[in-house]
């Protein structure tokens, strides 16, 4: 089944690399402007469940990598052979200075909290997102905490360690 999918993908989209990692894992890397078209194509092909939307911070080659993992919701794992259902991992790279990306809520509505989380922790701005507000963190940070250049130890020193212990009597 994934053989034919590979040909279909390579035929419809031009600058796209499709690799079969393992027996039912397909990795697709594409340019970031073509991602929405690929997502729509895969959704029509039956992969209607956006299992995961996350980002990776490649600080050496100065780019973020946004990853989508899609599965077909109705096709469940095969109990007999233990073979898992077919997962498609779609990756794109976006520049690190001013990280921009288009929101995928139009195709997958359940991506809304994922995008808010990535915005809060990585700083990737998703235009077209209805309410891009902080989701988890209590305070705001100038460098989003999940980035590699965010030095947690220094942050802890200058925020928490500055708070003095309480000894002796107040004046």
């Amino acid at each position: 089944m994934n053989k034919s999918l590979r040909e279909k993908l390579e035929s419809t989209f031009k600058d796209i690399q499709v690799a079969v990692l393992e027996e039912n894992r397909i990795a697709v890397t594409a340019e970031n402007h073509g991602v929405l078209a690929i997502l729509r194509f895969l959704k029509d092909a039956g992969f209607d469940h956006l299992a995961l939307l996350s980002a990776v911070d490649w600080i050496e080659d100065n780019c973020f990598e946004v990853c989508f993992i899609l599965t077909c919701y109705m096709q469940n794992d095969d109990e007999v052979t233990g073979r898992q259902r077919l997962h498609i991992i779609l990756k794109t790279k976006i520049p690190r200075e001013k990280p921009q990306f288009k929101t995928v809520i139009g195709i997958f509505p359940n991506a809304e909290p994922y995008e808010r989380e990535i915005y809060e922790l990585f700083g990737i701005h998703f235009e077209g997102h209805p309410r891009l507000t902080p989701l988890l963190l209590e305070r705001n940070y100038e460098i989003p905490p999940f980035r590699k250049d965010f030095d947690t130890r220094k942050y802890v020193e200058d925020v928490f360690d500055k708070i003095p212990f309480v000894e002796g009597k107040d004046k």
Binding site: E138, Y141, V156, V159, F160, K162, I163, V166, G168
Partner: protein
Amino acid sequence: MDRNQITKWFKAPAKMANKYSLHVIYFCTGCGIIEVPPVITARWDAERFGIIPVATPRQANLFLITGYVSVKTLRPIIRTYEQMYEPKYTIGFGSCPVNGGMYWDSYNTIKHLDKYIPIDGWIAGCMPRPEAIFIAVTHLWTLIDKEMANGYIKYRENYKSYRRNQEMALGELEWPPLFPVSDEPRGNEQ
């Protein structure tokens, strides 16, 4: 009950009563709470020592914080501590409330809990066993005996610095200060 127990009862009934009737309120944060049910049920019966879990801080006089304290959970912990009545004791369960434990360098956890509320007893261990609670309680008894379990007195006297620490960690606090902080107006009456 040996003879000096009875004399102790008559000399200081309040202190003895505080020792042998510790109504506990658990703050179930992090991975510590899984150690508490065995403490209450048949295997390590806590009721032998007069320790009963209660529902609200108003009825409790022992506050057990089990597990790491994230910045967000610090608010309810402070509010719950302030809602408890005066002779109250707190025990930090596990190494995370002590000094952040394995999350010592995380941006999102509170490292030293006793910068924000006074802690009378610590139980070290990355999730200590249920018996550790009884050891802590027995130590608490000796502290109460020697008048050293005075976390709540320290909180009352140094409330200004505690409040300042809390505001430094959490930014603006939405509940009025418990004790009159001299420069701020006292907002506790109706």
